[in-house]
Amino acid sequence: MKRILVIDNEPYIQEVTQISLETVAGWEVLTAGSGQEGLVVAEREQPDAILLDVMMPDMDGPTTFQQLQKNPQTCQIPVILLTAKVQDSDRRRYQEMGMTATIAKPFDPLQLANQVAEALGW
């Protein structure tokens, strides 16, 4: 069973994402309410993939990603960015940074698991 870490400062979105992935794909979902918390959970839990929100206070998605990359314990974990900004330029920038995929918000909770699996080649 796949283990996914959802990093999002919005508790409700976190919760909906969790229920969606658990129900649709049957994955185990871990959650973190901030980038900082996400770094800790990622290192400790070693999830199969990370769903990372872009817009977060204190530490935003790209910064969190860079931190994850810096840490040898987390740098190999694929990261999918959840972002409201879906412009091509942003998408390209994130890919250049090394992120696996970008999924647009608001997402369809019934499709999300498929989108993630597809992006990761699962």
């Binding site: 979105i13 608001p106 019934l110």
Partner: protein, 661 residues
């Protein structure tokens, strides 16, 4: 004469009569006579042609001539010689004719004696002599008369000549006068003459037009009629002074403006010159006066325009620089100098290069010749720079927007005017606006994402067997919907209050009423959070919108309760301070970092954005509070110590006794 014999020519053909006469003459012995006798007229004439005689005794009946004819022929040949005619008794008519023709006397033959003859002859000679003298005198007189007449004729013709000349002079005078009168009348200027008593003696049509009087109205009137009262005496003095100055004409009002007064009483500025003429020993002053109201007005308008332009140039917020073809500044307004950090004097004459930064925003060197300013100078194109940067005196740069307009004189480009403004603030506002829009859209999208996600899951039926999860998703959807609604309300609220679109419905309210109601509303929340709510206030009348103040108080209380740990107390106080009432909402919460004390009143600027999610806030509450307080001319601020708590303060105006703010 007594010594000389009297020579007598006797013309007589009758020897008896000759003898008789000789005898008679001899009777008068003492009388010396020399008597010559001829018988015929021809002989008499012949004799008279050669000889001098003193008297002729003439018988009219001669062999070769008869009657009056005899006399006239003799008389014609000897006009100066007295003739005494010898006639017969019956010749009365002939005698009269002969006397009338010029004979001195006549003697009737047969009735003559010696003495009578002598007396007659002497008388005849005397008479002739007298006649001759008379005749000579008469001739002389006639000569004189003729001379005098000639003289008179001469004088007369001279007079006629003079008269003719005079007529011509008069004619040319009349023409000249007509011409002068014509000039007087067509002149637009007022031409006014006054005598030494300052009475108007001439008033032309121009004067009629300017002053509004007819000539008849003013002739003989004092000049003061045409002058404003305050100038009358001064003017009179001027004329008196002028009387004593040597010049013949001078300009008036060179030093001070002169004014005229129209018939309707209005005054007008004028320009005048005055001249003096001596006419018949009396001085006449003639003033030529021009109404310069229009010119004055034009001058004033021009001056005003100049001042306006100057004012516009100096007061306009935009920087203005005039630049010549060499790229040197020719004028600089104060705004330009200020924006660029120079004084106006420092900037004048400087090359325009001083405003251009050495580098472009992208870091590449600024190529002056490729600057659009240069292009405008060279090609005369209007250039609008939307995203350029200028350099200040101190080397710092700032973003500008400018418009560069060529100055043309007679179609030649002589330079450009650069009007520019510092757009730092505008760019900041634009950035803030962009950020705000971005934040708002994120804030709105967040609950929407939750709602959408929860409802999709529920609708799919996937959770039919997991009622707990389903219920949880429903709760999320409902909460998020509430939040979305609150957000939308708050966003609209803050927008409308800030823009002044919501009018504060102000009335007199008492501090205690407002605070009691707010405490009542928040009591439930306080109890739920285990927080004690303590309110104390003096009852003071306020001039406020009670609903909006309630909104402010509940907002602040709600924040205070939210951030208070269980068991803590939230204090609500109000006290009078001068013209205001000071409200305080004090909590024992975690406090606010020093650097956030100001920004928390901005929209979506919670200390920690996660606060909004955790505490159901929209991030707009304090922004709304601030807007409401500001709309009441109050102030709002916060004091805080981390770990100890925060106190929010705001002031509101007291209700004035008259009940108006």
């Amino acid at each position: 004469m007594a010594d000389q014999p009297i020579k007598i020519l006797l013309v007589e053909d009758n020897p008896g009569d000759v003898r008789l006469l000789q005898e008679l003459l001899e009777e008068v012995a003492n009388a010396p006579f020399l008597l010559t006798v001829v018988e015929r007229l021809e002989g008499a004439l012949h004799y008279l042609a050669k000889e001098q005689v003193d008297l002729i005794l003439l018988d009219l009946s001669l062999p070769d001539s008869q009657g009056l004819e005899t006399f006239t022929k003799i008389h014609d040949h000897a006009v100066a010689i007295p003739i005494v005619v010898l006639t017969g008794l019956d010749h009365e008519t002939l005698t009269k004719q002969v006397i009338q023709a010029g004979a001195q006397d006549y003697l009737v033959k047969g009735q003559v004696d010696g003495p009578l003859l002598v007396r007659s002859m002497r008388y005849a000679i005397e008479r002739k002599r007298t006649e001759e003298t008379l005749r000579r005198v008469n001739d002389e007189l006639e000569l004189r008369v003729a001379e005098r007449t000639a003289e008179l004729i001469n004088i007369n013709s001279q007079l006629e000549l003079e008269l003719e000349e005079r007529k011509q002079i008069e004619e040319s005078l009349r023409v000249s006068q007509t011409r002068f009168a014509g000039i007087l009348e067509i002149a637009n200027d007022a031409i006014i003459s006054v005598d030494t008593h300052q009475r108007i003696t001439l008033f032309n049509q121009g004067a009629e037009k300017i002053f509004g009087y007819s000539t008849q109205e003013v002739l003989g009137q004092p000049l003061n009629l045409l002058l404003p009262g305050r100038f009358a005496s001064a003017h009179r003095q001027h004329v008196v002074d002028f009387t004593h100055t040597p010049g013949k004409a001078r300009k008036m009002g060179e030093r001070q403006e002169i004014f005229g007064r129209r018939k309707d009483g209005t005054e007008f500025p004028a320009e005048a010159s005055i001249s003096r003429l001596e006419v018949g020993g009396e001085q006449v002053f003639t003033a030529i006066l021009r109404d310069i109201s229009d010119r004055k007005q034009a001058e004033e308008a021009l001056e005003q325009l100049g001042r306006q332009n100057e004012l516009i140039l100096t007061s306009v917020g935009e920087g203005l620089c005039g630049v010549d073809l060499q790229g040197k500044t020719t004028f600089v307004n104060p705004a330009a100098a200020k924006l660029l950090g120079y004084s106006v004097e420092e900037l004048l004459g400087q090359s325009i290069e001083v405003l251009l930064p050495p580098y472009k925003t992208d870091g590449t060197a600024y190529d002056l010749t490729s600057s659009p300013l240069y292009a405008a100078l060279r090609r005369g194109l209007i250039h609008q720079g939307m995203d350029e940067i200028f350099q200040r005196k101190n080397g710092s740069i700032f973003p500008v927007e400018y418009i560069c307009t060529p100055i043309r004189e007679q179609k030649e480009i002589v330079g450009v005017v650069i009007a520019f403004k510092d757009i730092t603030e505008r760019q900041m506002v634009e950035r803030m606006k962009d950020e705000f829009v971005s934040v708002v859209s994120h804030e709105l999208r967040t609950p929407l994402t939750s709602i959408h996600g929860a409802l999709r899951m529920l609708a799919s039926g996937l959770l039919n067997n997991q009622p707990e999860k389903g219920k949880r998703l429903l709760e999320i959807a409902v909460d998020s919907t509430d939040r979305l609604a609150r957000l939308i309300n708050d966003i609209l609220d803050v927008e409308r209050i800030e823009s002044g679109k919501v009018t504060m419905n102000k009335k007199v309210c008492y501090t205690t009423d407002l605070m009691d109601r707010a405490a009542d509303v928040m009591q439930a929340m306080a109890e739920k959070g285990g927080v004690t709510l303590s309110a104390s206030a003096v009852s003071v009348p306020l001039w406020v919108d009670p609903d909006r103040i309630m909104q402010t108080l509940t907002n602040l209380l709600s924040n205070a309760i939210k951030f208070s740990p269980r068991g803590a107390t939230v204090w609500l106080k109000a006290e009078e301070q001068g013209e205001h009432v000071l409200f305080q909402v004090k909590d024992q919460g975690r406090g606010i970092p020093q650097d956030k004390l100001e920004s928390i009143f901005e929209r979506f600027q919670q200390v920690d954005t996660s606060d909004a999610r955790n505490h159901e806030g929209t991030g707009l509450g304090l922004a709304i509070c601030r807007s409401i307080v500001q709309q009441h001319d109050g102030q709002i601020w916060v004091e805080s110590t981390l770990g100890e708590g925060s106190t929010f303060y705001f002031t509101l105006p007291l209700a004035r006794p008259r009940g108006k703010k």
